[in-house]
């Protein structure tokens, strides 16, 4: 059984169809890079998987549970699906430690001490162990993003979603975040990343998906898809992105 | 002789509301003048002037309106040996009070105009007063309208305190009507309803003005 399945998913914002009968299957351990122009539906697809956006038609299944079923306990599901956004979304009024330990303590009922240890190890994984008592506004963009990753990892999810997490960063800070992503991938996490980082996609992803006008236009092994685009739309897109 | 609370009484309440509005108008004129002065004092490039302005605002805002009313209505006659009418006491007290609040609001609006506007005026050779007159104030006035209308609503409500020194306005009329009809609940609900009918449209207008302002910025 696949970890994530999308069956003919349709998502509309008003009259605008953003996802147009998208079907997809993700196995555990896969690293999926999703590329495409803005408005192609890639971020929306991610946000539908953890239930942040409702869908109009179709089914989304995560680990056997139907995400879009109104009876599904989304809270429980979201403990198993981590998501990191483009603009970090760290809580500015909480320290790094409290940002990371909030969910484990409040949702899982973890004790303070145990939670702090958990935070420390999560931070060590992203290379920021010494920042545990700092506040978000004392960190650079890249550091904030790494803390955001640590925060999601601390909940020990089965799937991690990354929505253009390096797009808002200064170029010199992107590298440290990508390194962390590689590390997490190497540890066997199932990941779906919406990204513009083609080099990273080619190196790390097991599958590349190109989305266009709300549909999956091309998909396959990253190196294959990027080297030999089969459709003019992907060619145009790669031309524009890889100039 | 207790009479029934009838439509007739509501009519008299409405008539009394005229004085509420009249007092509000006078207070707004008086307070507006003071407020203008205060706002200008507070943005003056001369520190002692700014301190006077700030002092006025902080002192007036730190004393209850009732105290101003009583000092003027009860205190002044004894102090200066003059007879003070409720009209005089209320108008002066509200003008002093409104002046502080309007001054603060308008100062905020003046300060909301970006530095660059002042600098542009200065680099054209305009004096402080000329910059104020031709560049800053016209822009500030637009920004000032929504909160000023909002304060007008406050003023209308505050005039109810004038009842305490015997000034005949809506609330005082309500007290008199209650004494005559022994129906306090009905009377004061009617009084509240009339205030609401006056204030609510103004509040909505102030909100609409604010929204229009935000859109055009």
């Amino acid at each position: 059984m696949s970890l994530v399945e999308l069956h003919n998913v349709v998502k509309r914002f008003g009259t605008n169809t953003v996802l147009d009968r998208v079907s997809l299957s993700v196995e555990a351990g896969e690293i999926i890079a999703v590329i495409g122009r803005s408005g192609s539906g890639k971020s929306t697809m991610l946000r539908c998987i953890n239930g942040l956006e409702p869908i109009q038609e179709g089914r989304i299944v995560f680990d056997g549970e139907t995400v879009n079923d109104p009876l599904t306990n989304l809270r429980k599901l979201r403990q198993r699906v981590g998501i990191v956004f483009q603009s970090y979304n760290l809580f500015p009024h909480l320290s790094v430690e409290r940002n990371i330990t909030l969910a484990p303590r409040v949702v899982k009922g973890m004790e303070r001490e145990a939670a702090r240890e958990l935070a420390a190890s999560a931070l060590a994984r992203v290379g920021l162990a010494e920042k545990i008592d700092a506040y978000p506004d004392q960190l650079s963009g890249g550091q904030q993003q790494r803390v955001a990753i640590a925060r999601s990892l601390a909940m020990k999810p089965q799937l991690m979603l990354f929505d253009e997490i390096t797009s808002a960063l200064d170029p010199e800070l992107t590298g440290e975040v990508l390194k962390v992503l590689e590390k997490v991938a190497g540890e066997g996490m199932t990941m779906m990343l919406v990204t513009h980082e083609m080099g990273f996609a080619r190196r790390v992803a097991t599958r590349l998906i190109f989305m266009h006008q709300g549909r999956i236009w091309e998909q396959g092994r990253a190196s294959d898809v990027l080297a030999k685009p089969r459709t003019p739309e992907l060619e145009t897109f790669l031309d524009a992105v890889l100039h | 002789m207790i009479r029934e609370f009838a439509l007739n009484d509501v009519y008299y309440l409405l008539l009394a509301a005229r004085w509420t509005l009249a007092l509000t108008g006078l207070a707004f004129l008086g307070g507006g003048t003071v407020g203008l002065l205060v706002a200008l004092l507070r943005v003056a490039p001369f520190a002692p002037l700014r301190i006077i302005g700030a002092g006025y605002v902080n002192i007036v805002q730190g004393i209850p309106l009732l105290a101003w009313l009583f000092v003027l209505f009860f205190g002044l006659p004894i102090l200066a040996g003059v007879r003070v009418s409720p009209w005089f006491a209320a108008t002066v007290a509200f003008s002093i009070y409104a002046g502080a609040f309007l001054g603060e609001i308008w100062r905020g609006c003046l300060r909301a105009i970006p530095r660059q506007q002042w600098e542009a005026g200065a680099s054209l050779g305009l004096s402080f007063v000329e910059q104020l007159r031709h560049i800053i104030v016209p822009q500030a006035v637009r920004v000032a309208i929504p909160p000023t209308v909002g304060f007008l609503v406050q003023l209308i409500k505050n005039t109810s305190l004038a009842a305490v020194i015997g000034f005949i306005e809506l609330t005082r009329e309500g007290q008199l009507t209650t004494a005559a009809t022994y129906r306090p609940f009905a009377v004061y609900i009617a009084v509240a309803a009339i205030y609401f009918a006056i204030c609510f449209p103004l509040t909505q207008w102030s909100r609409r003005l604010e929204r229009t302002l935000r859109v055009t910025r």
Binding site: F85 | A67, T171, C199
Partner: protein, 234 residues
């Protein structure tokens, strides 16, 4: 009859007035009691007003439409009618519906309901100022709605509106003077009593004004201190 001492004079010739603050000072124990009542009213009202405000704001921003409309109605009615009239309705009006209240309870209810409405609006602005993105992040971590509200939204919201909220509180403390009109034994009422005994109208009300000013300053300092310790990180 207290001995009249010439403490100061203004005016020349026909217009003479001798200030006598001594008469006022001899009544300082009454003044102190009045201060006590005013402070009691102010503090309890602030706590109640804050609570009502937080609940009301949450209801308007996150609650069902009908609940939000109810709260909006409450806020509009209170904010568009005078506090004095609200006080009269509670103290004079309710008895005719069978609810008889003593002066302090009526005062407390009217003041709290009034402050609650203003607080609701202020806190609501704060809640709406918290970026959506953070709320989403909270939900994405598996937090429930109530948990997101408590841990992610409330603290930043109050920090944002702290100045407006505390100004409103200070204004309310000054506004407690209206309860003197239903003979609640607050500071302003004490002033009237002293006035009726000593006929030193100007002195007593000037002194009372000064006391209120001092109280307002004290509260502002108090709030500034809280802000420093609660919101500034050590």
């Amino acid at each position: 009859m207290p001995h009249v001492r010439r403490v100061g004079r203004i005016g020349t010739g026909r217009m003479k007035y001798t200030f006598n603050f001594r008469d006022v000072w001899t009544q300082w124990d009454y003044i102190a009691e009045g201060i006590g009542v005013t402070l009691l009213l102010a503090i309890i009202t602030m706590i109640a007003g804050l609570t009502i405000g937080a609940l009301g704001a949450a209801a308007r921003v996150y609650g069902r439409p009908w609940l939000g409309a109810l709260v909006a109605g409450y806020v509009e009615v209170i904010r568009n009618t005078p506090l004095l009239v609200q006080l009269f309705i509670v103290f004079f009006g309710l008895p005719s519906l069978g609810v008889r209240l003593d002066t302090m309870t009526a005062a407390f209810i009217a003041l709290s309901v009034n402050l609650g409405a203003y607080s609701t609006e202020i806190i609501r602005a704060g809640l709406e100022a918290v970026p959506r993105a953070q709320i989403e992040a909270g939900y994405s971590l598996g937090l429930s709605g109530a948990q997101v509200f408590r841990h992610v939204v409330l603290a930043p919201a109050i920090r944002i509106v702290y100045p407006a909220l505390t100004s409103q509180f200070v204004l309310m403390m000054l506004a407690t003077s209206v309860v003197s009109q239903i003979s609640a034994p607050d500071l302003f009422h004490v002033a009237s009593i002293i006035q009726s005994r000593t006929f030193r109208d100007f002195e007593i009300y000037a002194v009372i004004a000064g006391v209120y000013l001092a109280l307002a300053l004290a509260f502002k300092l108090f709030f500034a201190t809280i802000e420093h310790f609660a919101f500034t990180r050590r």
